[in-house]
């Protein structure tokens, strides 16, 4: 019977990629995996403070958390390995879903004419935090230089930041909290 879980083989600062290589936990691939993991956790916090009647947003967030795990698996896999050949490719489908969700929420929002300050309703604040973590994850993933099967990853993360910005505004509007414009 197989089990999941930590066995303690990383107690000295090394870990295994999905493709088997032993690497330092400070390596670029593990840094990318860590930021994707953090983003998934922050999205969990966002979902947790969404009120009743936000089923669609919650479902989208769960889908995104799943996609982030998928991207994390790719970040932990070197090209041309057996694991890379068996791992399902990251397609453009999730990107199209994000774009559809962005369009849906933008329809309900007034046009933006100023920079806005992150914050407002707690759910909006979490969406802004998620957006910044997403940008960091994107930078880390860029450093890994994704290979062909993950070509759709960078557009996805780029669009995910947009989604989270729009989601923050959407959460404020749905909760009756106005966005705070930046005034110089």
């Amino acid at each position: 019977m197989m089990m999941n879980g930590n066995v303690g083989s990383g107690d000295r600062g090394m870990t295994s990629l999905l493709s088997g290589e032993r690497v330092a936990k400070s390596s670029v691939r593990i840094e990318a995996c860590g930021d994707l993991d953090e983003l998934g956790a922050v999205l969990g916090a966002l979902a947790a403070c969404l009120g009743e009647g936000r089923a669609e947003l919650k479902r989208e967030i769960e889908d995104i958390q799943g996609e982030l795990l998928h991207i994390g698996a790719w970040m932990g896999t070197t090209p041309d390995s057996a694991a890379a050949r068996a791992l399902p490719g990251f397609t453009s489908g999730p990107l199209l879903s994000l774009e559809g969700a962005i369009a849906r929420m933008e329809k309900a929002l007034p046009p933006l004419s100023n920079f806005i300050l992150p914050g407002g309703h707690p759910s909006a604040a979490w969406a802004h935090i998620a957006r910044t973590v997403c940008r960091r994850a994107e930078r880390r993933v860029t450093a890994v230089s994704p290979d062909a099967p993950t070509a759709a990853v960078l557009p996805y993360l780029n669009r995910l930041s947009t989604y989270l910005f729009v989601a923050a505004r959407f959460c404020n509007k749905e909760n009756g909290v106005p966005d705070t414009a930046w005034r110089i």
Binding site: M2, D11, M14, P88
Partner: protein, 221 residues
């Protein structure tokens, strides 16, 4: 590979062909191979019996017309006693294939390390054509050396590591102890399948003594 990706996680119903005891504490379950079920050597299936799910590596070759699981009987366990009681013709539900414990190299630099029924994926890899590997099988007594003849015929070096009984040959001690004293310095492709303590201790040994190696792991209870 596209077919395998599409098949990941699919549900299948199959029938039991037979259950055979490998030792006093472990048994093999042979299943009909459902049409359309593809897998790679080293992958597993998730058996669902009365709502209880457990993952088991396949010991079959990818070209075999049947599926074989190696199961350690856990007294009082939730699933293994039920599997031990299966009869030919009984229905079994599973999903799969799952996992990325995959053989990706060739030649003498591959070292397979198993404890107990963790040898199952290596049987699958050998049946898929893996050769010239070193296999360390850690067990308590020689009767627990499942698939011994078959694996010894495929391996360039087959090392039974027995913790209790060496009357039928083999190394007296842990797989880590054998590797520490007998494996030449260098980098290898290690495949570890077994209990937590073996995987932890062996991986730490690799970091210390065999830098530059790859380590793929599958934790078994």
């Amino acid at each position: 590979m596209a077919d395998l990706n599409q098949g990941r996680g699919r549900s299948f119903d199959t029938r039991v062909l037979w259950v055979e005891w490998l030792s006093r504490t472990a048994f093999a379950v042979r299943l009909e191979r459902p049409s359309g079920f593809l897998f790679l050597p080293g992958q597993s299936i998730r058996v669902d019996q009365d709502g209880m799910e457990r993952d088991y590596s396949l010991a079959s070759g990818p070209g075999d017309d049947h599926l074989t699981l190696c199961v350690r009987l856990v007294p009082g366990g939730m699933l293994s006693p039920r599997l031990a009681g299966l009869k030919p013709g009984d229905l079994l539900h599973f999903t799969g294939p799952h996992g990325y414990f995959l053989y990706q190299s060739a030649g003498a630099r591959s070292v397979f390390v198993a404890t107990g029924t963790g040898v199952a994926p290596f049987v699958s890899m050998a049946r898929a054509g893996a050769r010239s590997f070193t296999l360390l099988h850690g067990v308590r007594t020689a009767q627990d050396l499942y698939f011994r003849e078959e694996l010894a015929a495929s391996a360039s070096r087959y090392v039974p590591c027995l913790s209790e009984d060496v009357t039928q040959g083999g190394f007296r001690g842990l797989v880590t102890t054998w590797a520490e004293g007998n494996l030449a310095p260098g980098s290898y492709d290690f495949y570890l399948c077994g209990n937590r303590s073996m995987i932890r201790d062996f991986t730490l040994l690799v970091d210390e003594r065999f830098p530059g190696s790859r380590v793929s792991t599958e934790v078994f209870h």
